[in-house]
Amino acid sequence: MDSGQLFNFVTLGYFVAMVLFIAYLATRSDTIALGARLVSVAGLAIQTLAIGMRWYESYQMPGGVGHAPMSNLYESVVFFAWSIVLIYLLIDIKYRQPSVGAFVIPFAFLAMTWAQLTLNTSIEPLVPALQSNWLTYHVISCFLGYAAFAVACGVSIMYLIKIGKEEKGEGPIGGILGIFPSVRVLDEINYNAIMIGFPLLTIGIVTGAAWANYAWGTYWSWDPKETWSLIVWFVYAAFLHARFTRGWVGRRAAWLSIIGFAATIFCYLGVNLVLSGLHSYGG
């Protein structure tokens, strides 16, 4: 058994978890919700093991190739999926809302599927510029932050669906929307997830700057990747401040959260696929 096979199991696990969470929306069965949670926890545990194994495998390769598995696009996408499930489960411990899983776990499943099916999975030696501990800290904190934003985006979508129906005022809301958390709770999860993600993103940008400073002697050079991470930071800072005025809760906050996550994804993938930059994930 190598890490590659384990990652396939993980992908399958997240698929099952996703189906179960959606089945929960349809059936409202607590047993199914419990099953969905257990499968997610198992998927996370296996993925943790697989990431550890890949790390170990890199040190088994000849010629001093060993490094933390966070250095290329494949590894970062896998770590992103791991972070999403981790942050979701942490938020679930607090809020106990399995319907949220149906809107968050699909992000993790899509990421794993994309990584396993289309990305280059081989362990590659690091070119000199990427040999830095700062880079490892940078990737870990950025992706934990991105994952929190993914959760925020998921609940914002739920919020918009639910508030749209509520405002049409068609009596008490039944069916699937009935087991969504209340709009107040959705709004609160959105805010709390961003509050978790924002300091992580801040740490991510700072450690990235530290890395650039050690590698090239400039902590900030306005390259497209750096600039986009700052844009994301500004958007979420605007979200938080808009909230302090108390004017921007609810619908507008949900939209800002979705825009923020779109900017996050663009920063992560769009910059390399659409714009050109110096960053390493360009492949």
Binding site: M195, W216, G217, W222, I231, V235, H241
Partner: protein, 456 residues
């Protein structure tokens, strides 16, 4: 609207303090920043004209889109952003400072009536003994309270996490500190580069923008440059230079190894491994055998240099390739006869030293080695502001965490005697994360109720 009453300066002041301006700033910085990620920065005029046409080029140039992060309007936005931060801090700081210097030791009737977290109990115990027991309990479950007596009523006040009120200010201050650090770096620092050939030294570097070299005040020698590859591949594993720094003829740093991500610093100037390349022509080590006498001699010619051989012959190396077909390093030579005729060139292989003996002729040659000197390319940075920036970053992380994850929590308890009964009123507040605090308050309430019931 009470806006009518405010004077013009007040309105301007309020505008610069306002959160509306903050949000406008944050969103406009986000949106305008996109321009510089779409249009290449710092390119040449020809490239831009080819890409966008002359008319657009003129327009973009006027709008400073080609170096937009240093354009007047972008720097202006950043300036507005700082002014906003400073004004809002000046405006709000006194209010927050008051929580420290003048804590609300006594809560009024309004607080006990309108607080989101409140409770009321009554008992027969005397106010005096109950107060001391409640103070003890509060110290156990929360923190040590302050007792104030007023109007014959006992007031207990306890608070925790007051520093989190300053989290936002720390964060805001940190942004200003980071900007200050960036300005210090721009004004008193520079970014430059220098190429140093192996075995040579430099005492000047070339700034990235500008053409006057900068004197370092000391000199840097490159003793050696090497590239290490991953086993059996062409993928570089490490670029390393050995650098020696001398100042006033004395060696201050001796043969220190630098690699990418591990630079060398001396007197605030830092040298980063950045590139490399061949420096000048290489030199060969060639063993020549006189086929008649069997005598051997070793020579170290540079490429193209004519080398004299016995009996009036001479030879020179015309070319070198690191890999000739699949035979490894190879050199092409020719021999000049004593009468000056140029004989047919031939190839010798480093990995097959016996090969040339089969050619026949007066001499046979064996390639023992080839040394191509390299230069190491270094980025050179002097940035006296960088520690200011790191300090700001640290403060920002610390400040934003304390702003988000901690809150200022306060509890008031008032004990009064009325009509032979003792009335206990309790109120509490948290300035952030109220739902979690409400749960906590339910616990406090139970513990206080227990304390009241279980008199000694």
């Amino acid at each position: 609207m009470n806006a009518k009453k405010t004077s013009a300066p007040d309105r301007i002041w309020d505008f610069f303090c306002s959160l509306k301006l903050t949000i406008f700033n944050l969103l406009s910085l986000s949106i305008t920043s996109i321009i510089g990620t779409v249009i290449q920065q710092g390119g040449s005029a020809e490239e831009y004209i080819k890409e966008y046409g002359t008319a657009n080029y003129q327009l973009f140039k006027k709008l400073q889109f080609f170096d937009m992060y240093h354009s007047w309007w972008f720097v202006g936005l950043l300036g507005l952003f700082s002014v906003n931060l400073i004004c809002c801090s000046i405006k709000n700081f006194p209010r927050v400072w008051k929580f420290v210097v003048a804590p609300m030791l006594i809560a009024g009737d309004g607080t006990f009536k309108n607080s989101a977290n409140k409770a009321e109990f009554s008992t027969k115990e005397s106010a005096k003994t109950l107060t001391s027991r409640l103070a003890e309990e509060l110290q156990k479950i929360f923190t040590k309270p302050i007792l104030t007596e007023a109007d014959g009523k006992q007031n207990l006040f306890a608070q925790k996490g007051i520093y989190s009120r300053f989290g936002a200010y720390m964060t805001h201050l940190s942004i200003l500190i980071i900007m200050l650090g960036a300005v210090i770096g721009t004004v008193w620092g520079y970014k430059a580069y220098v190429n140093i050939a192996e075995g040579t030294e430099v005492s000047q570097v070339w700034p990235r923008n500008g053409n006057q070299p900068i004197d370092l005040g000391f000199s840097v020698r490159c003793d050696k440059f090497e590239v290490e590859f991953y086993q059996g591949t062409q993928r570089p594993k490490e670029y390393r230079s050995l650098l020696t720094v001398t100042e006033n003829g004395k060696i201050v740093i001796d043969k220190q190894k630098i690699v990418v991500n591990r630079p060398l610093s001396y007197k605030g100037i830092t040298f980063y491994q950045s590139s490399y390349g061949p420096a000048g022509t290489g030199s060969f080590e060639i063993e020549v055998t006189d086929n008649k006498s069997g005598e051997k001699l070793t020579v170290n010619p540079a490429q193209g240099k004519k080398v004299a051989l016995p009996k009036g012959f001479a030879f020179s190396v015309d070319d070198f390739v690191p890999s000739y077909q699949s035979f490894g390093p190879a050199a092409k030579l020719h021999v000049d006869a004593p009468d000056g005729t140029h004989r047919t060139p031939f190839v010798i292989l480093q990995n097959h030293p016996q090969f040339d003996a089969r050619r026949g002729g007066d001499f046979s040659f064996a390639l023992k080695g080839y040394k191509q000197p390299q230069y190491t390319g270094l980025q050179v940075a002097k940035d006296p502001g960088v520690w200011v920036v790191w300090f700001g970053c640290f403060l920002m992380i610390f400040g934003s965490m304390s702003a988000f994850f901690f809150s200022h929590r306060r509890i008031w308890i008032r004990i009064s005697e009325e009509k032979g009964k003792t009335l206990v009123q309790m109120a509490a507040s948290a300035h952030r994360n109220q739902p979690a605090f409400a749960d906590k308050f339910e616990e406090f309430k139970k513990q206080i109720a227990n304390t009241i019931d279980n008199k000694a």
